[in-house]
């Protein structure tokens, strides 16, 4: 009971803090906070798959990147507005998810990981290789931000736009993991054969989880295209997928809030470390090793363990 009151109070404080952030952050750091929010959504979408359904995907950047490219292509090449491009981006990410899910779900464990990785690399190679359409590795600059009645060109207004969307998406994800569907996913993570014996069509649950994860990843990717006003093939690259995995594991898989915190930490560290050295990916690797050695249930796990040790002397 106190735990519930405590986490409610913590969410109110966190929300107040997020709302007040533009008042005391310089423009650069407000931009960084916006990126943290976008990647928090990206990591939470992967958590649905990894933490709840127990499926480790190394291709999550595919849906993120496909949504981002859909926006850039529809706006810059087809000269459509964001009113069409934005929903189309979500549809495209969801469709790619629905297309890849039956292929990936034929396998489990590290084979699932390899298939998702391979599928994402196919998408990456299209974006990288089809120069006439995508500019290849130069990417596509000049993606205008949407204007739904008010301008999102200022750092501040875009921050609030992202905060609103990520907040709503997080609430939706929270509702999903607390629903019978989310509970069933955890059961499937623990034992597929037991869930089947109980009458659950395991494949259908995994398929829906896969497609939902792709859709939410697409939402994050669409926001990121607007944020940078640019899309490039690195959005689709394996490094992006691996970073998302590390965000989830660093924060604590299967908790939603953990991966969101993990994303914020990784985005901050990336910014911080990149200002000093070019070897960010190496530092990322070291962080990953440290977390798997010393915090097996992630940052959120450290907090939970600490609380438990205090309450049970």
């Amino acid at each position: 009971m106190t735990g519930r009151v405590g986490s409610f109070a913590a969410s109110v404080v966190a929300l107040a803090l997020l709302l007040a952030l533009p008042q005391f952050l310089r423009q650069y750091y407000l931009g960084l906070a916006t990126r943290m929010l976008i990647f928090a959504l990206f990591a939470m979408s992967l958590d649905l798959l990894l933490g709840y359904a127990g499926l480790a995907s190394l291709g999550h950047a595919a849906y993120f990147g496909v949504a981002a490219y859909t926006i850039a292509l529809l706006i810059l090449r087809a000269h459509l507005g964001s009113g069409i491009a934005f929903p189309a981006a979500l549809v495209a990410a969801t469709a790619i998810g629905a297309l890849f899910a039956p292929l990936a779900l034929r396998a489990r464990g590290s084979y699932f990981l390899m298939i998702t990785f391979a599928l994402a690399q196919v998408v990456w190679s299209v974006a990288f290789g089809w120069r006439s359409l995508t500019n290849g590795d130069d990417g596509m600059p000049g993606v205008p931000r949407p204007n739904f009645g008010w301008s999102l060109d200022s750092t501040q207004s875009f921050y609030y736009f992202v905060l609103a969307i990520v907040g709503l998406a997080a609430l939706l994800l929270l509702a999903i993991v607390k629903s019978p569907f989310g509970r069933a996913l955890r059961g499937i993570r623990e034992s597929e054969s037991r869930m089947q014996a109980l009458g659950y069509n395991v494949w259908r649950y995994q398929f829906v989880a896969f497609v939902l994860a792709a859709a939410f990843a697409g939402l994050a990717g669409a926001l990121y295209a607007y944020f940078n006003r640019f899309v490039g093939p690195e959005y689709l690259f394996v490094i992006q997928s691996a970073e998302a995995l590390i965000m989830v594991i660093l924060g604590g898989a299967g908790t939603l809030i953990g991966p969101a915190i993990g994303a914020a930490v990784i985005v901050f560290l990336e910014d911080f470390v990149s200002s000093m050295t070019q070897h960010w990916v190496m530092v990322l690797g070291i962080i990953y090793v440290l977390v798997t050695l010393f915090a097996r249930h992630g940052l959120i796990g450290l907090i939970v363990d600490y609380r438990q040790r205090r309450s049970e002397p």
Binding site: P180, G182, R183, S191, S193, A197
Partner: protein, 246 residues
């Protein structure tokens, strides 16, 4: 109509014949125990009935319906439930959450995405009723992997019972249990509704003869004898291969 009818069922794993022309009929409400030495094909037969293994040939029907090619979850929704020889639970979930999944599963309702689980009071009532009924109420909040082995075997049985199955498959429900725990599980089985059909693999002779209406004996993938306790005890082939050690 029979609860379970198996016709000429065979299963080969590569060159190894695990089941060879097994035919078996079990009447509604019957309690049948499957005996046989290790490697006789008992668990393979169970896997074939529950859909975890597809047979090479033959036919299986459940209450008159052909289920030979159905997936395990479809069979479960037709009223078949099973336990596993090697405990197969949800290690990191609580006992209550496990039973909730079991209660919510077998009815094949569509996927429900947004309403919180905690608002489904009917499921909670049913889960608590089952835990009370089977003496696990005290463990409701505990995480499954922290239960004793005996409690895990009991939970295994409760999960199978949650969907009110018509046919229950029990794969060595008392394996590895202490005498006290064994008699608890036997008592649980004896308390089940008499119209529930039970097929059970059991190595403990006392348990087998106590629970069974009829017994079937398997050896090297074949069914070699069927009958009541007296018939099985009198069967010379069975005595040779199985009971001969006594």
């Amino acid at each position: 109509m029979t609860a379970l009818a198996i016709e000429n069922l065979s299963k080969n794993f590569g060159g190894v014949t695990a089941l060879s022309g097994v035919s078996l009929e079990i009447g509604i409400g019957e309690r049948r125990v499957l005996l046989g030495p290790n490697g006789a094909g008992k668990t393979t037969l169970f896997h074939a009935i529950s859909g975890n293994v597809m047979p090479s040939s033959g036919r299986i029907s459940l209450f008159g319906q052909d289920i030979t090619r159905l997936k395990p979850d479809r069979r479960a929704r037709l009223g078949l439930a099973r336990t596993f020889q090697i405990t197969n639970l949800f290690p990191r979930l609580t006992v209550l959450d496990s039973v909730l999944l079991a209660v919510g599963g077998a009815n094949g309702r569509p996927i429900r995405l947004l309403r919180p689980m905690s608002s489904y009071h009917g499921l909670y009532d049913e889960a608590h009723r089952l835990l009370d009924q089977w003496g696990l109420a005290g463990t409701a909040r505990r995480v499954v992997r922290n239960l004793s082995y005996g409690e895990q075997r009991q939970l295994e049985l409760v999960l199978a019972l949650a969907g009110e199955p018509r046919l229950l498959l029990l794969d060595e429900p008392t394996a590895g249990l202490s005498p006290g725990e064994t008699s608890r599980v036997v008592a649980m089985v004896q308390r089940l509704r008499r119209d529930m059909t039970i097929l059970m693999i059991e190595h403990d002779m006392d348990v087998a003869f106590e629970l069974a209406d009829r017994i079937a004996v398997m050896h090297q993938g074949r069914l070699i004898a069927e009958g009541d306790e007296a018939a099985i005890r009198a069967n010379r082939q069975v005595t040779e291969i199985y009971l001969g050690t006594e």
